[in-house]
Symmetry: D2
Subunit: 231 residues, 4 copies
């Protein structure tokens, strides 16, 4: 039995139904059987154990890095696996994600989430701290969602194909300031840019069109740069 605040329906009442078909709840309310999209998995089916990166940032980060089928991507700090799921969806079966996570309990949840999406085979999760080095080489793009990226950007840079992008997600201005200092000191990162995305959702009411009253005001800053040879 599946139950919600709108009413109940037996699993048999849904099973075998074509996507997009209406079914009737116990309350007489008509609902539809929808094929879940990637955002449905993220927002409704994924188990959460950490702060997550929201869709407003996920889409922009993937685009900035130019992630595409076949890409080999390194990710440090996979947490709940939201970004991992987006990246693994886009790189397809020819690509691969090398995901580092220091907390085994987070990694376990991320694995479960990715398995649910059917894309766990595209991801290698390592329980390790990237400060002690990464074994990958020839990486197309790197994503860091860890509290201390300034300690590892050098190591991560060396795993990248020259001129490839590295994206760092950071909640506070203090962290961004510290990272910018490090990137400039190292001299092997150029085209440094910092972004913040904001998403406004509107009341989808044709008689009273207006933004919703509250919104997520801040998730984090996105620091983009490209790794070059500084010799």
């Amino acid at each position: 039995m599946f139950s919600s605040d709108k009413g109940c329906i037996s699993h048999d009442g849904i099973r075998g139904k074509e996507w997009g078909t209406p079914v009737m709840l116990s309350t007489g309310v008509r609902v539809y059987v929808l094929k879940p999209l990637l955002i449905d998995y993220l927002m409704h089916a994924f188990k959460r154990v950490t702060q997550v990166i929201y869709p407003k940032d996920l889409g922009y980060m993937a685009l900035l890095a130019g992630v595409r089928p076949g890409y080999k991507v390194l990710e440090a700090g996979i947490g709940t696996g939201f970004l991992t799921a987006v990246l693994a969806t886009i790189v397809g079966d020819e690509g691969h994600i090398y995901g580092y996570e220091v907390r085994e309990d987070f990694a376990r949840v991320a694995k479960e989430n990715l398995r649910r999406l059917g894309i766990l085979h595209r991801v290698t999760i390592k329980i390790a701290d990237v400060r002690y080095g990464v074994s990958e080489e020839g990486i197309d793009a790197a994503f860091l969602d860890i509290p201390n990226p300034w300690e590892v950007v050098d190591v991560i840079g060396k795993s990248l194909k020259p001129s490839s992008p590295i994206l760092v997600f950071l909640p506070t201005a203090n962290q961004v300031i510290k990272l910018l200092s490090k990137l400039k000191e190292l001299g092997s990162f150029i085209d440094i840019r910092v972004f913040e995305t904001l998403l406004r959702e509107y009341q989808p009411d044709e008689k009273a069109f207006r933004p919703l009253s509250t919104m997520i005001a801040h998730t984090g800053y996105i620091v983009f740069s490209r790794y070059v040879k500084n010799t």
Copy 2:
């Protein structure tokens, strides 16, 4: 000879250089040979003939629709081809984009832009008005960037696999209001949501971290919905 405001360099001085390698301009300024990313093509190499959809919206729209390798996508109003380029990059060689455009001159520019990116073979461009019908079926996701989407959502819906997403990009509140009325009247679109993305870029200066003084304040509203059978 390649020349910029920073200085000049002969094509021979660049040719054959590995990505990420520094080269010296005539002025003594050191610059780097970078492998262009998708956003570099969009923002610097693409010829523009129309208002374009910006990266802040492109990434979010692709994510909302769950575009992935192998997807068959319908796009109405390809214009300069920014969205087409993003979609065709993600769907890979197994996917395909069916792009409609009424203006032949726009389509010619879009083709040239996509050829430059090496992904024109993933796109079929049709010089036609979607109001007179589309021949595709079993489409995974549809994107509309046309001034009068309320006239065509019904037709486009029928080309979609049931429960698949349709995303409409619209500059004005009046258009959103008109579209919302139509979607509700038709009754075959559910989970209607309206979004607006904002992107703030920051001065990447560790001594004076602050948002840039001006920003793009508005490009358009994104209307998301899913097509269902309403029988």
Copy 3:
């Protein structure tokens, strides 16, 4: 006895204390006796019966209209009295606010709020619908916070000194569109401008400076214009 989540203190423990003096709560927590500011009255002491106009909009609206000591201001739809309180504070004892409100229960609360601030004598509250006319003349600025301003702008305009500002606060885009149509049709309003203010509050933490996670995303649109003779 005054009690809070931090602890209690007897009224005698506060009475007679100089502003800015520390006092000790029952829990040993040190707090300060603060002289309330206008925003403290609005956000903490005012009883609320309606949606209110927030400080982010109040300050900007007062500035746009150039409200100053001695001004005679007309306000339609005083509701809880937030805007009335701000206007009556600025116009001083030489100025005056003529406030219309159709709901007697709202007017009663507004009066109580203004009395608490000690500025009720600067405000004349009338239980009346401005659609049936206003008796004031030579008004310096008018403020409307009512759902149907297009029905009254003409009447209100005539109460204004020529070329004086009228500001309308409206929650939805549909209302703004309707008002803009009316203002243009009448032809006696010029310099029409529409604004929306957004306020981001930051975590005041020198070690983790970042915007608060959530914010008020929308309160309303501010429509500014000036009344002229259109003969």
Copy 4:
């Protein structure tokens, strides 16, 4: 002769006209004689010599501090005099602004701007660095728009009536972080809050209602706090 891009008109064609009256330009275009508002002076008549504080911030800052007729206000860093003009307008003839400015050339322009508004008599401008002390006492509210406020907040605090507000305007996150550290170290400032205002202007077109394409993305952060006795 007054001339604009719309056409010309002789001063005699305007002189003596009632506010709000239409007049005809040489081109046949009808325009109106408007009584200038405070924002007209700020945005069109004031000579500018520095970065200015914009209306979106001016209105909110004045409201936060509860500025009203009769207030004695201290301002450090008057620059072009935008904030001074707003404060001096609101405090009226019974109030007063004590404005400090280290640059004599800025002070000269500010004076000229305030004289134009007819409120120079409400302002005492001192060419002095507040780091060397201020002679005022019993101030109701203080405003700082200087690059190094952490060096002077202690001095300024002592000139304030206990529990009165001090507002600091700062362009960069680094400055805010430094100020927050100082305020906490001193221990005599409480209720510390940091804000940022954003203003979106809309196209006032009832057929195409939408935000303008570009906007001012950042002017500065507003740091609010109250001075208390910390003994």
